[in-house]
Amino acid sequence: MQLAREELQQAYRQMKTIREFEERLHKEIATGVIPGFTHLYAGQESVAVGVCENLTNDDYITSTHRGHGHCIAKGCDVIGMMKEIYGRADGLCKGKGGSMHVADMDVGMLGANGIVGGGPPLATGAALAAKLNKKGGVAVSFGGDGSCNQGPVFEAMNIAAILKLPSVYVYENNRYSEHTHSSYVIASESIASRVEGFGIHTVKADGFDFFEVHEVMKELITKAREGNGPCAVEFETTRFYGHFEGDPQNYRAPTELEDDRENNDCLKIFRSKVSEAGLLADEDLDNIDNEVLTLIDDAVEQAQNSPAPTPDDVTTDVYVSY
């Protein structure tokens, strides 16, 4: 735990923000006010934050359909995101993207992505740009266990390996490709063992522990930054909600979610570690909790009261010029 007090507070704040963002969305979606498909990231916060706390705005990430956590961790405006998910005109993407397409070029967030396996080729391209720019930038792609079976992901990793690009492929194995267990759809022993076959330095790590994620990523991102070519990592993790909101999750073991909430909650694990080590007082953490809850309340209120886009907006932003 080589992190300064401010860094620990920041990490906890980010994780807590993601958690409360998703918990609140879960409630709001149930009321029917939010259109479309939403995939919640709650449970995996330690991965997004452990990765992105090693990045700057000059680094790039690509994300997935379960992208809210990656967006928040990379620095997207939380209120702008909430407005976007509500489909508002002043949302981060003017209400044109929604939950599955939140992006912010200003912070190097190249988009959540509605196509499983859509992001890794893009991260490879961003890494190529970073390599040519020679400023030490890196690109990180987030993907789930499902994405590791998509052909373009293989192509992307092979290209990164032969061109020695500064990219890191992060696989968040939350056990389920939609509703199907990863042990059924992944023929190899693990995602990590498969990725190693591309000649990429790959590790497998505990994704429930922020500190392990942060440390592993620090090493991998540093390697990539220093021109040693791409790396990859498989994190074991879990999602607290379904593949999509409304998913009854009857494909999960009877006590799985309960067990995960009890024993694999990355926020609880973080709290107990920093408390036991005397790094942050309960009061510090409680204060952050309160700040986050206020922020999320504010975001929802603003989103609910923001203007809807108008029909004229349908055909704007298709091209730069046409």
């Binding site: 790039y60 690509t62 949302g91 981060l92 993407c93 003017k94 209400g95 044109k96 993207g97 397409h101 992006a103 912010d104 070029m105 200003d106 190249l110 988009g111 992505n113 509605g114 196509i115 859509g118 890794p120 080729p121 893009l122 991260a123 490879t124 391209g125 961003a126 890494a127 190529l128 740009a129 970073a130 390599k131 040519l132 720019n133 690109a139 052909g151 373009p152 192509e155 992307a156 092979n158 290209i159 032969i162 061109l163 704007t316 932003d317 298709v318 091209y319 730069v320 010029s321 046409y322």
Partner: protein, 337 residues
């Protein structure tokens, strides 16, 4: 002006634009050629059609990049690099291979700007070959411009002359939107005058290839010269034609087409794709809905049949619209009572 082949015009343009802007990079299968073989020097291929010749030697391995046979990877890498500020010119050897990378075109590159609320740009060019005429059979001969033309967010350019090859490719590389650039593989060896130095051709501005009174012909790429041949033969019978080459199917110069049809009162659209949901059908529908009262005869489409592109010489010749068939259809249209 310098007389140049279509291929040389493209190669010269790539050299010129790479020299002009260091963000322009070229990537694709064998765009260098010889990479990785310790017994040969790279750059002796320069693309299987020779269009990227000399780029590696001039601009180095960082800007002229041989890629594995991974079309989705190539296009995704180009799209990601473009999002991050580069201007990649990626090559997909045959447009038939777009089946392997369509997601990266259709769901990624085409939609970034829209999905991200106008904050992203994806200034990439995808160069690809198309068309029948080399007995390359069903998987190396298609004309797939309609598939990408129908996708909002993409622009589609199809040059028919060496001058337009240069002018349209220059515009494509400097354009801030993703552009699919179709090169008919039988046109590489044709020659024509090409303007020296900087030469751009704006997108969405048709070329009026010929002017006449009796019928409007609309065609792109290789079919433009077929229309010229047909028009030449028709002129001997006293029939004169407007020939309109839209140059880009997206954006489309609707005005040039409609103005011409209003003048001639007749329209024959020529395209070497099959007819269903086609470019020819699109132009015919446009004219039918916008200038119906000007029409003196039914609109006709000269297209390939609803079949894959065949292999044997006799079959391929029967598949592709011919100048003779175009002439015949124009005669029927002009003589319609």
């Amino acid at each position: 002006m310098t007389e140049t082949t279509f291929r040389e015009a493209l190669t010269d343009t790539l050299h010129q634009e790479m020299a002009r802007d260091e963000n322009v990079i070229v990537m694709g299968e064998d765009v260098v050629g010889g990479t990785g073989n310790p017994h040969v020097e790279p750059d002796f291929v320069g693309g299987v059609f020779g269009v990227t010749a000399g780029l590696y030697t001039k601009f180095g391995v960082e800007r002229c990049i041989d890629m594995p046979i991974s079309e989705a990877g190539i296009v995704g890498t180009a799209a990601g690099a473009a999002l991050a500020g580069k201007r990649p010119v990626a090559e997909i050897m045959f447009c038939d291979f777009m089946g392997l990378c369509l997601d990266q075109l259709m769901n990624q590159a085409a939609k970034f700007r829209y999905m991200f609320g106008g904050k992203a740009t994806c200034p990439m060019v995808l160069r690809t070959t198309y068309g029948a005429g080399m007995n390359a059979a069903s998987q190396h001969s298609q004309s797939l411009h309609p598939i990408v033309t129908m996708i909002p967010g993409l622009k589609v350019a199809i040059p028919s002359t060496p001058a337009d090859a240069k002018g349209l490719l220059t515009t494509a590389i400097r354009d801030d939107d993703p552009v699919i650039f179709f090169e008919h593989k039988t046109l590489y060896t044709i020659s024509g005058d090409v303007p020296d130095g900087d030469h751009t051709v704006p997108f969405g501005k048709a070329r009026i290839v010929a002017e006449g009174e009796d019928c409007t012909l609309v065609a792109t790429g290789r079919m433009v010269s077929f229309c010229e041949n047909a028009a030449q033969a028709l002129s001997e019978d006293g029939i004169s034609c407007d020939i309109i080459d839209p140059r880009t199917t997206s954006p489309l110069d609707e005005d040039a087409i409609l103005d011409s049809v209003e003048k001639t009162g007749r329209l024959v659209v020529v395209d070497e794709t099959p007819p269903r949901c086609s470019f020819a059908g699109d132009i015919a529908a446009l004219a039918a809905s916008e200038v119906f009262s000007s029409l003196k005869a039914p609109i006709k489409q000269v297209t390939a049949p609803h079949s894959p592109v065949p292999f044997a010489k006799e079959l391929e010749a029967a598949y592709v619209p011919s100048p003779a068939k175009i002439k015949d259809i124009v005669e029927q249209t002009v003589n319609y009572k």
